[in-house]
Point group: C2
Chain length 309, copies 2
């Protein structure tokens, strides 16, 4: 139930990090692009096929040491429906390799429409009497601006299909404070959103202490991470903003509980572009990604206790 | 620039409404589904093809009297990448028929990721030296919870490609008040979001009085519609919640300025399912949709002045 499956994978790998797969075409090595363009042309399909091969290479190299991937939907939609097909294939491929998949889609809507998103990304749909799986991720990010109507249909999916959601609480970007830091009485907007996560989560509890409703809290705001960790004991955190965006390992350690659990830290660009930073042969891109995953894990673990239940 | 193209179509048709194409499979007549399943099986592709034919039938019948369609992304993602292909084809088809297309995607993200969404849904992408159009809608709905970082990349696209965005301000659902009605000092959260829309819009003004940054304000909240109309003189409104959700024509009239402009009202289910309500032959579904569009237009116009500049 809920994030229990993710937590088990984190304990098994002793690695509370997730590899963000946000594959801009400029991150993909030339040899992969050339091959795809030769076969499919310089088309959306060609781009989508290149991205898929890039992703598979990384997944192959990291699936034994990293518990999860987080594909960012925008970078797939960017290559049209062909790119969205690559999103689907990336999700299936990673799951076959034993990884947990968080689709970073930040969807928001109400009622029946949110049910459609829930079915699309986490659940199944009926086509006449056939039950089919459109994308089948394990968890999805969600924007809670619309309130409970926008979250309830997801909770149903979480309970029925053993899935999870991460609601945006305090995002990692510079202008997140424009709305999120504003005060409502003596609470901040992000504090109120955090409380709603904890409340929503009560209806979909997990066995390992965390409910199906997680929260996104940015690595760039360690104080708020600490505040939210203290106030939201049953809410699992997805922490973006480590590395490229400026969040450090000491800061993100605030997101964790005393068992070294309760959070998973994302890195995208540093993993995907490790081969550029290393200036190694681009054919080595996946092994460079693995090296960066290990470096990141060790950096973060150096501030945490041994991860255990 | 901005919503000028939409406003021109509204004046030409004397119709400030948009047909929401949120095609749940149960809305699609049996004869269309049977044909699609026979050819493609009871598969996601079969469902997607049925939805596309359903949409085309409605577009053919209403394109001379309705200025715009609003496909809701969730109902396409629900049928996987095959459904997303139907979204793409629906957008192109409606545009070829002269309609303005608002993709209701409520996307939210920051920086480079929002740039990717902007390119995906409104702009173009480069695949090597080829400039390609992934979805090519005219406007998109957006969730502004992340602040300016999440909106700026869209403003760039709006200016460069003559597109528009609608930011969620006060949504039509019952629980929208949980966050949106909360007070920040003497302002509501939705009021603050509305002010941000007006401010963001200053950098992308239109020639006809409205900027590229519109706002979503629900038909179910006439008081807030009136308040926002008075406070946000350059912000064009997209008004969902008319009909099925309970918003009436007198209420939605508050969204308009003294020229009968400044807003477009959406109806989805009542149009798509008009043939069910009429209990007419399902082969008549598109003509029933047209009749409902005319009924809705007349209902709304009865509370408005003649639409003019």
């Amino acid at each position: 139930m809920s994030f229990d499956r993710l937590i088990e994978k984190i304990i098994k790998t002793q690695n509370p990090t997730v590899a963000g797969l946000d594959p801009r075409l400029e991150y993909v090595p030339e040899f992969i692009k050339k091959k795809a363009y030769k076969k499919y042309g310089k088309t959306l399909k060609g781009a989508a096929k290149a991205v898929l091969e890039f992703n598979k290479g990384i997944i192959d190299e990291i699936c034994d040491i990293v518990p999860a991937i987080k594909p960012q939907a925008a970078y797939y939609e960017m290559y049209g429906y062909q790119g969205v097909k690559t999103l689907y294939k990336t999700i299936s491929y990673a799951q076959k390799k034993g990884m947990y998949v968080i689709t970073d889609a930040k969807r928001s809507d109400i009622g029946a429409t949110m049910e459609a998103y829930a079915a699309a990304h986490l659940g199944t749909v009926l086509v006449d009497d056939e039950e089919l799986t459109p994308f089948g991720a394990d968890a999805m990010t969600v924007n809670g601006y619309l309130g409970t109507d926008g979250v309830e249909p997801l909770l149903k999916e979480c309970r029925e299909s053993d899935k999870g959601i991460f609601v945006l609480v305090k995002t990692s970007n510079k202008s997140s404070g424009e709305l999120q830091d504003q005060k409502i009485g003596d609470k901040t907007v992000y504090g109120l959103m955090g409380e709603m996560c904890e409340k929503w989560g009560e209806t979909a509890p997990g066995k390992l202490g965390y409910s199906s409703v997680g929260a996104v809290v940015g690595a760039t705001y360690p104080e708020q991470l600490a505040e939210m960790r203290a106030k939201l004991p049953n809410t699992f955190f997805l922490v973006p903003g480590y590395g490229a965006q400026g969040g450090g390992a000491e800061g993100v350690s605030k997101a964790f509980d005393s068992n070294g659990l309760g959070a998973i830290v994302n890195s995208s660009r540093a993993i995907m572009c490790a081969y550029k930073k290393e200036e190694c042969d681009e054919e080595e891109y996946a092994r460079a990604a693995r090296r960066e995953c290990i470096r990141m894990k060790e950096d973060i673990l150096s501030y945490l206790p041994k991860i255990t239940l």
